[in-house]
Amino acid sequence: MAVTKSFKDESRSDWELQLSDPEIQESLTILLQKLPRIKEAVLFSERAIDFVAAVSQDEETLQKFIGNAGKELSAYHLNEESLRSLTTLIKKLPNIIKVVSVLEDLLEFGKNVLQDDDSLDYIKEGMEEMATPIFSPLKEAKERTEQDNQQVSIFTLLKWLKEPQVQKGLKYVHALLEVYSEKHKK
C-alpha cells in the first residue's frame, strides 16, 4: 500500500537527495501555499476517520451496516483493503498533524520574512557577501600588486617554482598538454 510509507523509513540521505531535486522543491512551495486548506482537510478527515474507526471497531454496527447497505458501501470501495489503509492512516495521524503544525509555523515564518523589508535586505547583503567574501584573496592580491614596486628577479622566479600552489598548477598544465598531444595523435 503506497499510503503506508513512513517518514521514518526513509534514510537521511534519501531526504537530502529529494530535497535538492528542483521538482520536489517546487512541490514543497506549492504545498506551503496550500497549507491552510490542507490543514482544514486533515482536521476534517481526522474527524471522519475517528468516526469510521469507531464504527469499524464496533463489529455489531458494522455487520448491520454492511448487511443493510452493502451495495451502497461497495460503491465507496469500503472493502477490507481500504479499511486496512484507513487503520494505517489513523496510526499515522499524530505524525501527520505534527508535520502539518510544523509546516504551519514555517509558513508563518516565511510570510513574516517576506513582509519584512529589513530581513530581505539582510538576506540580499548576505548573498552578495558570500559571492565576495570579506577577505577576498583576489581583491587583496590586486591591492598589494598596486602597492608593490620591487623587481622580480630570476631567483625569485625559481623560489616561486617550489611553492606547492605553483607546483599544482604546473602539474595541471603538464597533464593538460599530455591529453592534448594524445588527442592530436589519434
Binding site: N112, D118, S119
Partner: protein
C-alpha cells in the same frame, strides 16, 4: 494606555518579553488587549550579532529595531521602567509612580551590567584601545581597535560573575586572532586571555575542542584571574587572583573587557529575588517558587543554565503553556530542560555550535558533529539565526 489593570503584565520587552507576549496572544484570544509590556527602551537589540559587529563582520544597524515595531498586535506597551514589584499586592509600580495591577506577572527584565565594578573602566571605554562588545554604545569601537592594532599585547577578559552568553568573551578573541593573521601583525603580538573562572567552557566536549583552538592559535590563557582595574594613562590592566588575591599588572595595547553583570536593582530589592538577587523560579516550570502567579524567564531568572537568547527560545513556550494552564487551574505540565546554545565563533567562517542542557550533556540539533569547527554553522549564525530571531522567535512561531 491609561489602563491600570491587566490580566498579564510582562516586565521587559527584550528577547524574553517580546517572545512570551507574542506566544500568549497567539495562543489565547482572551489575552488580547489584556496583556501589557512595560519597558522604557525605545530600541530592541539582537545582541548575539554584536560579536560579529565587534569583529567587523556585521553592521550594528542590523542588530537594532524600534521597540514599537516589535510589540505584538493586541499587546499594550507602557514606556516606563518598573521601579518596584509588590507581588503580595499583585502590583508593579513604574518610575513615574503609576501602579499597575496584574493577575499574572512575567519577569523578563534581563540583567544589569556593572560597568563601575571595574575601576577606571567607565571613563576609558571606547577609546585608546579599551573596548567591549557588551556595550550597545561602544560595540563598533571593538572593530576599530582590532583594525588599528599594530602589535603588542591584546588582552581579553572574562569576569567572575554570571554573564550573558558565556562564550562571547572568547569569540571576539578568536576573530581578532584571525584578523591579526590576515593583517600581518599576529607575529608581532601576544594574545592573552584572563579568565576569572576555572575552565575554558563548562561542557567537556566543547572545552576539548576550544583548548585545541587555543593551542593552534597560540593564545596565552590564565584562569582564576579577575580584572579589577584599568589604568588608561599607563595603558595597564590590574588583575587579582580569585583565591590568593595576589595582583598582577599587565601592559595592554588593546583590551576587550567583559564587565561583571548582576540582577537589576529593582529585582534585587524585591521579594521575588533569591539570595543572589535573581528571580527565584522553579528550574523546570519557570514558575516563581513563592508567588504562583509569577513567572521568570531569561537573563533575570536564577535558572542554573547559561544565559542566552537560544535558552529563551526554549523557555518561552514553557512559560506560555504553563501560564495558560494556570489560568485554567490545571497542573503545570510544560518543562524546560535547561537547553542553551552558544555558537562559538572561532574565526571568520568557522564555528563550533555548542548546544547543551542542565546536565551539561550536548543536545545537538544538526545532523553533524557540532564539536568540530564548521563553515556551515558560521553561516547558520550569521545568516539564518537573525532571520529566525526577528521573524520566527519574536513573532511567537519558533
Amino acid at each position: 494606555m491609561d489602563q491600570k489593570e491587566y490580566k498579564v503584565v510582562i516586565v521587559g520587552g527584550g528577547t524574553a518579553g517580546i517572545s512570551v507576549a507574542s506566544r500568549l496572544v497567539r495562543a489565547s484570544k482572551a489575552l488580547k488587549d489584556q496583556t501589557v509590556i512595560i519597558d522604557p527602551a525605545k530600541k530592541h537589540y539582537y545582541q548575539p550579532l554584536w560579536t560579529l559587529v565587534g569583529g567587523g563582520a556585521a553592521k550594528k544597524e542590523d542588530s537594532v529595531r524600534s521597540m514599537e515595531s516589535l510589540i505584538p498586535k493586541g499587546v499594550d506597551w507602557i514606556q516606563n521602567a518598573v521601579a518596584e514589584v509588590r507581588p503580595e499586592e499583585n502590583r508593579v509600580v513604574t518610575d513615574d509612580g503609576r501602579q499597575i495591577k496584574y493577575d499574572y506577572l512575567v519577569m523578563g527584565a534581563g540583567l544589569q551590567i556593572n560597568w563601575k565594578g571595574i575601576k577606571g573602566l567607565e571613563e576609558s571605554l571606547g577609546k585608546n584601545g579599551v573596548c567591549s562588545n557588551y556595550s550597545a554604545e561602544h560595540v563598533e569601537y571593538t572593530w576599530e581597535a582590532i583594525r588599528k592594532f599594530k602589535g603588542g599585547n591584546a588582552i581579553f577578559t572574562h569576569p567572575s560573575t554570571p554573564i550573558k552568553c558565556g562564550g562571547a568573551p572568547q569569540k571576539i578573541m578568536y576573530l581578532a586572532d584571525d584578523y591579526f593573521r590576515k593583517s600581518g601583525v599576529r607575529d608581532k603580538s601576544e594574545i592573552i586571555f584572563r579568565h576569572a573562572g576555572g575552565a575554558i567552557f563548562a561542557v567537556e566536549k566543547y572545552a576539548n575542542a576550544l583548548n585545541k583552538v587555543i593551542d593552534r592559535k597560540n593564545i596565552k590563557v590564565n584562569y582564576l584571574k579577575n580584572l579589577v582595574e584599568i589604568l588608561p594613562d599607563q595603558k595597564e590592566a590590574v588583575f587579582e587572583h580569585m583565591e590568593t588575591k595576589e595582583t598582577e599588572v599587565l601592559k595592554y595595547d588593546m583590551i576587550h573587557v567583559t564587565p561583571p553583570m548582576e540582577s537589576p536593582d529593582f529585582i534585587k530589592n524585591s521579594s521575588l529575588a533569591d539570595k543572589s538577587g535573581w528571580v527565584d523560579v522553579d528550574q523546570y516550570t519557570l514558575q516563581h517558587k513563592r508567588y504562583s502567579n509569577v513567572f521568570g524567564i531569561g537573563d533575570c531568572s536564577n535558572l542554573p543554565t547559561s544565559k542566552t537568547g537560544a535558552a529563551i527560545r526554549k523557555q518561552a513556550p514553557v512559560v506560555e503553556k504553563n501560564l495558560l494552564m494556570l489560568m485554567q487551574e490545571k497542573e503545570l505540565e510544560a518543562k524546560y530542560n535547561g537547553y542553551t546554545s552558544c555558537p562559538l565563533v572561532t574565526g571568520y567562517n568557522r564555528l563550533i555550535m555548542a548546544e547543551f542542557d542542565y546536565n551539561l550533556e550536548p543536545q545537538e540539533s544538526f545532523p553533524v558533529d557540532q564539536g568540530i569547527e564548521r563553515r556551515s554553522m558560521y553561516l547558520v549564525k550569521k545568516e539564518l539565526l537573525p532571520l529566525i530571531y526577528w521573524n520566527g522567535m519574536l513573532k511567537g512561531v519558533m
